[in-house]
Symmetry: C2
Subunit: 450 residues, 2 copies
Amino acid sequence: MARPTPLSGFPEWLPAGRIVEQHVLDTLRHTFELYGYAGIETRAVEPLDQLLRKGETSKEVYVLRRLQDDEAAAADHPEQGLGLHFDLTVPFARYVLENAGRLTFPFKRYQIQKVWRGERPQDGRFREFCQADIDVVGAGELPFHYEVEVALVVAEAFARLREIGMPAVQVLVNNRKVVEGFATGLGLTDVEAVLRSIDKLDKVGPEAVTEQLVSEAGATGDQAVALLALAELRGSDVVVVDQVRQLAAHHGADNALLESGLTELAQLLEAAAATAPGTLVADLKIARGLDYYTGSVYETVLVGHENLGSICSGGRYDSLASDGATTYPGVGISVGVSRLVARLLSAGLVTVTRAVPSAVLVAVTDETSRAESDRVAQALRARGIPVEVAPTAAKFGKQIRHADRRGIPYVWFPDAGEVKDIRSGEQVAADPGSWWPGEDDLMPRVIAAS
Amino acid sequence: MARPTPLSGFPEWLPAGRIVEQHVLDTLRHTFELYGYAGIETRAVEPLDQLLRKGETSKEVYVLRRLQDDEAAAADHPEQGLGLHFDLTVPFARYVLENAGRLTFPFKRYQIQKVWRGERPQDGRFREFCQADIDVVGAGELPFHYEVEVALVVAEAFARLREIGMPAVQVLVNNRKVVEGFATGLGLTDVEAVLRSIDKLDKVGPEAVTEQLVSEAGATGDQAVALLALAELRGSDVVVVDQVRQLAAHHGADNALLESGLTELAQLLEAAAATAPGTLVADLKIARGLDYYTGSVYETVLVGHENLGSICSGGRYDSLASDGATTYPGVGISVGVSRLVARLLSAGLVTVTRAVPSAVLVAVTDETSRAESDRVAQALRARGIPVEVAPTAAKFGKQIRHADRRGIPYVWFPDAGEVKDIRSGEQVAADPGSWWPGEDDLMPRVIAAS
């Protein structure tokens, strides 16, 4: 077999990279659990009719076929109607409906899994990638305060990741009611078209957005100017809420929906100022293309890496799912783990103290005494210390080089009853029943690259 | 949307079940790391030509197609040549070749991921399931002692799981060299056919195996009798090795290959007797159908649940991969996590203390004082205690019932500065900066069902 080459869009990490990713995943999981979110996983596949309910993603779905089923037999097999999920929201909505009678609401869940999209791979855009989602879903109703909570949960997780060298984030927030209220207050009716146009501001610039507002959303020149003025407002202080209010009053666009959205936006900013100052920024151009959002919307940029796009997005939706009798509103936010980890690695922002779990290599004097080395290793493992035993009874110099190549800090010599810190060269007598490598050396650690 | 129904062969767990699965996964990961195995993940897809190298599994492969690609366009897209992996060994072999220059050998890795097989679903046999694999792979050579290690690693992981109510396991071991040496010593040449026949002993019984040895492996009646006598030997004591030796001598089947296999089998049993007494059992009928095994082979049964089949299998292979210049021998073992967890849950062997992470529900007196409840929650979370805040400022009785339905043991009343253990009814004054729920209540725990 010739040496295989990587598959574009399907990222894989070397062991050191996986330690970084695992640290990010562990941090997310720990933070989610501190807020009471329960972990679930869903199967990788969903029926195609469910995956295709949202037209705009239909092209990206991978469909499954069993190899031995020919095309004619295809229709007879249920697999023919299955595709790989492209996000974790569609599967979660299905899970909630399927298990509604066995869940308690509001149901808070986190879900960390791979998703697949058959898109053209680009920097930070993959065909297979890992997402970490939290959602809160209610039966019939869901209080607004969860829209504050999900933003603060991810802000806290990202704050915890600062210590491994992750740059600061800005969680950009907006509220659909504000944009919708403002647009309808101006007299516009095609709110979807307004949202789609504003959503492109960063990509195409104000002039193109103005043109599009006129040509596609049916706006007059004045209405387009007003919408652009709204979209350009930004700030982490609640002052920005007053600026929107003044702008709306100036254009005669104030109404109850707008005011309701502004009240929510202000609450979100105030809560964030108290617990995560500087992290949340109201950004009135954040529109999120998807039409199911109905309240707060979120996007997150890595400061200094804005070109990466959002690493964490979501929002409030009044109808995550419905079984006819009950409608399930929700709010959720999704961390793009692969996108984040890929940048941490490629930009050289983080490093690991070693790429193997082992803190200690137990040397083997000769193969007949391997059992003695194994006993030392077992005594250390029983106390929670990761250990490997030398692969062969080579000369000690070679065994030390074996440890050095792996970054294993300690080599244990069972005959001498001594352990050597191969970084300093210091060698001391030690008892496997009591020796301790120290917290810094116990496990590989992820640290900021200097 | 009507209530969806589960998809046969694609298991999903409720939050309580996922806590059990997560505990199993955490225990496996921790044990693997104690032995120095580094975690990696590989993409879910592999090129079809790689997946189909082993003929016997070809029918089970799920092939991918992008939805918008019609059949005619299919050939132009690389996705057309991709399928979902059906195990973690094929992807690992590819990963080793692809990254050989950046890995250090012997390379010890663990890998915990979903795999997919389009088989007919049965009890314990799924179309999507989670596997946890460890493998050690060498460049050019790999010492025998790793064949001992991988068996002891999984034995230790299973021993750790006894405390949550997992039944005892028996790791059944054999050595390909023994069977092959014995068969060739008898004068048989089609060793593959011998292995395939013996592998079916439990399923079809000795008479059918005898018939098959004669009709398919070309054995005489006497040879078939000798092979059956070998296959029926079993024991955790090295005495069994001498029994094989005597049987071989009796039939004039002794040779160097057999003796080499017996020496290895004896070493494996002796090491196991020292560190995991009673767990490893030599079982001479264990053949493992796959033709790439060349030394030790392993299967694992859950005592009292033998009908479930093996929950952990593997073996030694002299050529995991080869790039022409270098051959990579390996030894690996794979835990069937979904099969194990499904049985733990369906047989009612384990239970969880609660299905949510939260140890505390902070009550809300009225919505205007929600911020005060949030502050208490934050103070507790900062000290590592999972907390949720009541969804609404309902009457306290209703808030307590909310906690009770979720199994949350404590309700905190910010106004009173008190916390109530809702199981005992005891309510005490408490400071969120110092109160501790106790280790047993901190996180949900998995415990043996009584």
